[in-house]
């Protein structure tokens, strides 16, 4: 019993048994976060540092709640108000923090591969909370948890990831994880926002949203990442909405309910129309709740390993 790795860097090459264990363990934690006293003493005495070199609201709060609900000691670090702004390198920052005797590091960084790099310079367990355009494994896992909870299984489930695939670490983690669990995954977006050779990851590519919607059980709608200059890849947000926006009108045409996921924060009426985001088939707020349970599951499984 237990995970096969000391770290969670991505979902690429993570064995099916590990994903299964993380998802199954999260069921118990979801029960705990719905109790009046949402806290267990499991990680008492463990110190966890949240290293956030990039802005984040829900992921950071979700991790911090998960850590506190497991009774760990938590230190938060935001790059904007730290020695990084004085020019310190990631290596020095990480080694200095480790010298203060910490057990786990949760890191978000704008450079792809930075989490992997961190494992080579420190001994603590490393959890990747998003590295550049590479992976965001806890988001992938919470999306899979939400889908599994709704549909009972991921095997054979048809999921389409829509929007800015090129810049999206969420898309990559979802593709790796869902494929491992036997789901049928497709992507849909303007050609400029679909990475070349993505077919090699085992997904079908669509450029017309109305071609794929009738063939899926769920869609994971990605945020147009304006901060990564995604705006330069298509003429206008209005045009993007017209061709790729997930709207009530489009979904109604399919004639059966399609489950909606979105990693947040939503650009309302750009990639997803407001009535769909707030509609009955939206799992968006459920995803947020499941995020805490999934992160507790990962912290527990890594934090109590030998």
């Amino acid at each position: 019993m237990g995970l096969s790795s000391r770290h969670l860097l991505g979902l690429q090459d993570v064995p099916k048994e590990d994903i299964q264990l993380i998802l199954d363990t999260a069921i118990s934690f979801k029960e705990i976060i719905n109790r009046p006293i949402k806290k267990v003493p499991t990680l008492q005495g463990k110190t966890i540092v949240n290293l956030f070199f990039e802005n984040s609201t829900r992921t950071r709060i979700s991790f911090e709640l998960a850590q506190r609900r497991l009774s760990a000691d938590v230190v938060n670090f935001a790059a904007s108000s730290s020695s990084v702004s004085k020019g310190e390198t990631l290596k020095d920052t990480a080694r200095n923090i480790e010298a203060m005797k910490i057990d786990m590091v949760v890191m978000r960084h704008n450079a792809s591969g930075s989490a992997q790099f961190l494992t080579k310079i420190i001994n603590a367990n490393v959890i990747n909370a998003g590295d550049g355009q590479h992976e965001h494994p806890t988001q992938g896992l919470l999306d899979m948890y939400s889908l599994r909870e709704k549909f009972g299984t991921l095997e054979g489930l048809r999921v389409c990831i829509i929007g800015d695939i090129l810049h999206s670490r969420v898309a990559r983690s979802n593709i790796y994880g869902l494929k491992t669990m036997g789901a049928k995954v497709s992507v849909c977006g303007p050609a400029t926002l679909i990475p070349r050779e993505i077919e090699k990851m085992g997904v079908d590519v669509y450029h017309h949203i109305d071609d794929i919607l009738p063939h899926v059980d769920a869609v994971n709608v990605l945020r147009i990442q304006l901060e990564r200059e995604a705006g330069g890849y298509f003429p206008s947000l209005r045009e993007f909405h017209r061709y790729f926006g997930v709207t009530k009108e489009r979904l109604d045409k399919v004639g059966r309910p399609i489950t909606i996921l979105h990693p947040g924060p939503i650009n309302r009426d750009v990639e997803l129309s407001a009535d769909v985001a707030d509609g009955p088939n939206s799992l968006i707020l459920e995803q947020v709740q499941n995020g805490v349970a999934i992160r507790m599951s990962i912290l527990y499984l890594l934090g109590t390993q030998n």
């Binding site: 237990g2 029960e31 267990v40």
Partner: protein, 182 residues
């Protein structure tokens, strides 16, 4: 050399459950106020058996639940293998109930300590009573059972094995002696 001695056979097992059920009813003057909570895994099955017996005798449905204490263990990091986390499943409100906590073997008392913490994190019962099938001594904490199936003085090297038909195929309690060469 491993020797295995039968302490309780299947007939004795049923009689012991029946006696525990009677004692619990007697102490609580009926079964209206009680809830029965078993500690996973075998405590859970014992709890169900006791609750079933009480329900038959008192003609009232006794709420039952089960507790997974994995997250409350004090030896989580020292264990060789990470234990599998299962669900705590207590669907009734334990507030102001007299909770009977059920486990198969009372040994160091550490499991019960974990269970008490786990239980009080869920709510505030009027009281918590402890029922165990076997008390084998060697307590490391100031914990004492209210209802005991059988007292078995043991040495540290011996093991008590409780088997139940639901998962092990038979109802019995064994004393297992491991020789120096085992």
């Amino acid at each position: 050399m491993v020797t295995k001695q039968t302490l309780i056979d299947s007939k004795g097992f049923v009689r012991t459950i029946n006696r525990l059920a009677h004692e619990i009813i007697e102490r609580n003057k009926g079964a209206e106020s009680i809830g029965i909570v078993g500690i996973r895994t075998r405590g859970d099955f014992l709890a169900r058996r006791i609750a079933h017996k009480i329900s038959l005798m008192e003609n009232i449905s006794v709420p039952i639940g089960c507790l997974d204490i994995t997250l409350y263990r004090d030896d989580l990091r020292g264990k060789l293998n990470q234990p599998e986390l299962k669900m705590t499943d207590i669907l009734f409100d334990i507030h102001d109930k007299n909770i009977v906590l059920v486990d198969d073997v009372l040994f160091t008392g550490r499991t019960v300590r974990s269970a008490l913490n786990a239980l009080t994190d869920i709510g505030r019962p009027a009281s918590i009573q402890l029922a165990v099938f076997i008390d084998r001594g060697h307590r490391e904490l100031p914990i004492k059972a209210d209802f005991i199936g059988k007292n078995v003085p043991t040495s540290q090297t011996q093991e008590i094995q409780v088997t139940m038909s639901e998962i092990d195929g038979e109802d019995a309690v064994y004393l297992i002696e491991k020789g120096a060469d085992a």
